[in-house]
């Protein structure tokens, strides 16, 4: 994958995570679906300019947490602050989200998709869309519709859509699902470079080994709680691997 084109100076550094200002603050978040509690008091401090990998079993509450951070859901209790604002709508321009589903229109080509989504962020420069596709090693001139893309191409285009507007916080839910090992490794390296350029990146994945070389910390979730919590009072698990800070 190509280098991200926005190079910022406040990128990842060697300071311990706790010393860095949080980009995302999750405070005692509870989320009920009917009587079922998907999140049971999750708390965490995600430092700016770091790359976190959120891992846990199915049903641990990872996607729910990410959707709450993205502003797609309201927590039943507790609060989430993103980039210093409790109103996630007000920082929407600075946050990028890639869901478990591709969030793309099958009937449109890759460029047509990106042009539309760029427009939602007030960006009308075609070059931005072309760059985003080229960064993901996709051909901007490919007229084939997204519905005819391979799974790997869809995932890469979905990632291009999420980072199109150069967000400061990037939330990715299973970006490597249905992606071959080689492409997943390239995507992981790309995410590492995004972090190096100052972005805060949260990645949910079941393929934690892919992120081993680039992650700053692995955040474990179980039964609706964050069980690795260096910055909160939650019980921490020793087997978490803050890869780059150790």
């Amino acid at each position: 994958m190509h280098q991200p084109d926005s190079r910022e100076t406040n990128g990842s550094d060697d300071r311990p995570i706790l010393a860095v200002e949080p980009a995302i603050l999750v405070a005692n978040v509870v989320k009920f679906f009917g009587r079922f509690a998907a999140l049971r008091g999750a708390s965490y401090r995600f430092a700016a300019g770091h790359l976190y990998v959120i891992v846990g079993d199915n049903g641990a509450g990872k996607s729910t947490l990410l959707r709450i951070i993205a502003g797609l859901m309201e927590p039943s209790q507790g609060s989430v602050t993103v980039l210093g604002s409790a109103s996630l709508r007000s920082v929407a321009q600075r946050v990028g989200y890639m869901g478990h589903a591709p969030l793309l229109y099958d009937e449109l080509s890759g460029m047509e998709n990106l042009r539309y989504f760029a427009g939602l962020y007030g960006m009308h420069d075609l070059a931005v869309c072309r760059n985003a596709m080229q960064m993901m090693e996709l051909d901007p001139d490919l007229s084939r519709r997204v519905g005819q893309y391979s799974q790997g191409m869809r995932q890469r285009l979905s990632l291009a859509r999420a980072i199109l507007h150069k967000p400061e916080v990037i939330l990715l839910d299973e970006p490597f699902s249905n992606v071959d090992v080689h492409s997943a490794g390239e995507m992981a390296a790309f995410l590492g470079r995004l972090r190096d350029s100052g972005k805060t990146v949260l990645v949910i994945t079941h393929q934690a080994n892919v992120m081993g070389q680039v992650a700053d910390a692995f955040v474990h979730m179980a039964a609706g709680q964050i069980v690795t919590a260096p910055s909160s009072n939650q019980p921490a698990r020793i087997d978490s691997v803050p890869a780059r800070t150790q």
Partner: protein, 224 residues
């Protein structure tokens, strides 16, 4: 970012997608054609009878056909959960609503343009009153159908039986508009009464429901 700029971009995207798939327009046309043909065989009316029943037939046909398009509107946004991409963006919710409503208006208007000659031929229709008023009624009536339909289709997208839910919610709330559409059309076709009252009622209905839908749409879009 202006709401209208966003709405234009979303409308252009929807029209492009419909042009390629023709999902909504084909379903509506097929349904509309069936109604025209079957009703013409069932009633076999003369010209005078036609003028009295055509208002009801035309609008019932358009109402049922419109439901097909209205269900398609949000189905596209649910595939691949694309609606989430809109919700996380800073684009205003009302831009999405206006784009969808205008899109549906265009689809139903195309249906009406294509079906009108068939109604005239099959029912031997001639307007006794001023025919230009039919155009005004068509515009106001179509907007009444699509503005509520777009809103309630959005409201029902997260329900399990959304294709059944939409008519269940939409038809009762559309009764005043439907009454106004049918009576004004019949008044114009027969020339027996002035359609002014019904046309004004349609206009008021459109203004009230457009305002209410715009006020409430953001809550509907972000409802869990």
């Amino acid at each position: 970012m202006s709401t209208m700029t966003m709405a234009r971009a979303t409308l252009a995207k929807d029209l492009r997608m419909e042009w390629r798939s023709k999902d909504a327009i084909n379903s509506m046309l097929f349904f509309g054609l069936l109604v025209v043909v079957i009703f013409s065989f069932a009633f076999n009316p003369n010209a005078e009878e036609s003028r009295h029943i055509a208002g009801g037939l035309i609008w019932v046909a358009f109402l049922f056909a419109a439901v097909v398009a209205l269900n398609q509107t949000w189905a596209r946004e649910l595939r691949n959960q694309v609606l989430d991409a809109y919700r996380v963006s800073p684009a205003p919710a009302n831009a999405l609503f206006l784009a969808k409503a205008f899109g549906n208006f265009i689809f139903v208007a195309v249906l009406e343009l294509l079906m009108a000659p068939l109604f005239i031929v099959f029912y031997n229709l001639r307007s006794v009153g001023p025919a230009w008023q039919l155009v005004v009624v068509a515009v106001l009536g179509t907007w009444a159908l699509v503005v509520n339909g777009t809103f309630f289709a959005a409201l029902s997208i997260r329900t399990r039986n959304r294709e059944m839910m939409l008519p269940l919610i939409l038809f009762p709330i559309s009764i005043p508009a439907l009454l106004a559409m049918v009576d004004s059309t019949t008044s114009i076709l027969t020339g027996e009464a002035s359609p002014d009252f019904w046309m004004k009622m349609l206009l008021v209905y459109d203004v009230v429901f457009t305002s209410v839908c715009l006020l409430l749409f953001e809550s509907v879009l972000n409802a869990e």
